[in-house]
Symmetry: C2
Subunit: 258 residues, 2 copies
């Protein structure tokens, strides 16, 4: 009965992302985006029951306390039990994709329980640096992650990390216990033929890497192997770039548990 | 090296669906759709190397033999090794979704290796019978399946079955060894807590059912249990309707093998 108070039991109750929510706070203000959603999309009135979540795993039953031109306030009531997070914190490292493909990846990886999303660029990337250095992309994906967390009833919003090179991303992940990288030629495969290292859940965190559809370059493979990455393949068919993260995360949860 | 001749080793070679292709035939004609794709989208010339696949698991290297107003002929050359099909033939039973959602489900289930796709309607379906009885929907989804098979390098095109009621679909599947149905309250779950029946691959065929997002009605649950269905849940978050089939099929392949 641990989930009796969870928002999942209240599927019709709207959810709002309120990073400033704290256990010792009674009233919180919504951001402009969230206030717009409450007032103009859902058209909720003062007194309406909602859920407020902080994006870090906590959520509260709340009521609309004030909703006017000066903004929307929520009155926090009791804390409610958020849906469980996976046992392992998995950062999804995703090779740069076109805008709408990245939106789909961020949306689905949020829904599939990734704890962070790290876009990276690789050797053959065809995206000019001026594009991936724009802060706007990160901010847009962060909004997509918030929106997906609201939809899927998750109380955690995965952080979108800065765009880095593959080698930088791996360097920055040295404290992670396991790096898993999708590679069509790998011996570990979705058919259940996994090495013990891949099968066993890492103690706390993992980095799951999705590279180019055609596979990594030989120098990237060498780098991945040098750093102890486990290569896995996701079956013989060619997956669409935006679907591969969903398949990889599902494989990991099936082996490691939610 | 079993895959040395597979089309996967020729990622740039265009694939065409030719149901009439046979081992003892030298020349085949493309359908109007496939001829249009060859001539006006890919703009291939006479002599161009292509792949022809019959949709039933066989494929051939071929060349464009003739391409004019009277149609396009392919000259079949040697048979090539198609990518492997999963060990278990899984029919995806999918509760009716809106048009573009069904398109995405058919596309992704084809890419994920489903052997057939069976749309069904349930107790609370809000779609009028006049809509789901139209033959046009089945034909459109069949075209989506062909297009996805071409993209993902699969030589099998899953058949789209006629729309039926849930009970009719299950009745028609009595020879299948295992019915697996997604249900949020199930004890079998993606966290690796599966019963032996779900873990063990069925001998040959299975029916994997995705119902309404909110779960089945109690009478549907009773019917499913009466007929020996195994209920599984796909984790605590609410999955988008068009993503659930990808997650379910991935769970099954992870347990049962490709």
């Amino acid at each position: 009965m641990a989930r009796r108070n969870s928002s999942r039991a209240m599927p019709g109750v709207a959810r709002f992302h309120v990073p400033s929510a704290r256990p010792d706070v009674r009233t919180v203000s919504l951001s402009a985006d969230e206030a717009h959603h409450l007032r103009h999309v859902l058209r909720l009135d003062v007194g309406a029951e909602v859920i407020a979540f902080d994006g870090a795993g906590h959520e509260w039953r709340a009521r609309v306390g004030e909703a006017g031109k000066s903004g929307v306030q929520l009155a926090l009531e009791e804390a409610s039990t958020a849906v469980a997070e996976p046992v392992v914190n998995v950062t999804l490292g995703i090779g740069w994709l076109k805008g709408d493909q990245m939106d789909a990846v961020v949306r689905d990886a949020t829904m599939l329980g990734a704890s962070a999303i790290a876009p990276f660029i690789w050797e053959y990337v065809s995206v000019p640096a001026s594009v991936w250095r724009r802060a706007g992309a990160i901010e847009r994906w962060q909004r997509v992650a918030v929106s997906s967390a609201k939809q899927c009833h998750r109380a955690v919003v995965p952080g979108i990390e800065a765009v880095r090179s593959l080698s930088q991303l791996i360097d920055d992940s040295m404290d992670r216990t396991l790096v898993v990288a999708v590679e069509p030629s790998a011996e570990n495969d979705l058919g259940g033929r996994f090495t013990k290292t891949v099968k066993r859940p890492p103690r706390s965190t993992a980095l799951a890497l999705i590279g180019p559809e055609g596979g990594w370059s030989s120098s990237e493979i060498t780098m991945l192997k040098d750093r102890g990455a486990e290569l896995v393949q996701l079956g013989p068919r060619t997956l669409r770039a935006e679907t591969a993260p969903t398949v990889l995360l599902t494989v990991l949860w099936t082996m490691w548990g939610w």
